[in-house]
């Protein structure tokens, strides 16, 4: 029982690949970086950490997030090896 509880409470390390675009890329100074995180972690939690580190002006509600090349919900829990792309408001066309 104690072993099991300890196991559940213990966080696991995962590694995710982060991609930035447009202004986020400019502010981060890189177009991608990899990051060790502690699971469980959602996309919006990851963005909050990165926003603090890089000083991004956009709140998550202004952005879209894509995980492994597909639009995703902000509440999605990240898995080891995920590619997470933060997408500022689009200005194509």
């Amino acid at each position: 029982m104690t072993t099991k509880h300890r196991h559940q409470a213990r966080t696991r390390k995962i590694k995710v690949q982060i991609r930035y675009f447009a202004e986020l890329k400019q502010q981060a100074g890189v177009d991608q970086e990899s990051q060790q995180c502690e699971q469980p972690l959602t996309a919006v939690e990851l963005y909050a950490q990165l926003r603090e580190r890089h000083g991004f002006r956009f709140g998550a509600q202004m952005l879209r997030v894509a995980i492994n090349g597909a639009f995703a919900e902000w509440g999605t829990t990240l898995n080891d090896g995920d590619e997470v792309a933060f997408l500022p408001p689009f200005s194509g066309g």
Binding site: R19, F21, A22, E23, Q26, F58, M62, R64, A66, G69, A70, F71, A85, L87, P88, P89, F90, S91, G92, G93
Partner: protein, 135 residues
């Protein structure tokens, strides 16, 4: 049919790819071009960048949706990279039996492309600044 291109868009080539059939009485094409001004500022040139894999998927979805909503054939191509003034940034072509649906579908596609496809524009101004556009 949706594509991204680092080379100048050749509208003729794209009309040929769209291949308006002999049952098409109407062809409507839209070109978005690099303007020399934006919100009062003199623009010198532009960069476009994309999340390419996602942009290709979402662009293709939009064109397919248009073809379901309207009885038309449609194609769209968006430029990436560095563009000069007057260059075509995006081309949309729609062929249909009648002009009503061709106009409606063309307008619908360009509106959806602008709203849904992860592409970003950086404007270089005469004054020397360069600003990513995030409307």
């Amino acid at each position: 049919m949706f594509a991204l291109s680092y080379e100048a868009i050749d509208a003729n080539k794209w009309v040929a790819k769209l291949g308006p059939g002999l049952d098409s009485g109407a062809l409507v094409c839209f070109e978005g071009r690099v303007r020399n001004h934006h919100q009062g500022k003199a623009v010198r040139s532009l960069d476009y960048e994309a999340h390419e894999a996602l942009a290709l998927d979402e662009g293709e979805r939009i064109v397919k949706e248009a073809q379901q909503r309207f009885p038309v054939q449609a194609a769209c191509v968006h430029r990436l990279g560095s563009l000069e003034l007057g260059e075509v940034a995006v081309w949309v072509g729609v062929a249909g039996s009648h002009r009503d649906e061709a106009f409606s579908a063309c307008r619908w596609i360009i509106d959806e492309i602008k709203a849904r496809v992860p592409i970003w524009k950086r404007e270089y101004y005469e004054q020397g600044e360069a600003v990513w556009q995030h409307p």
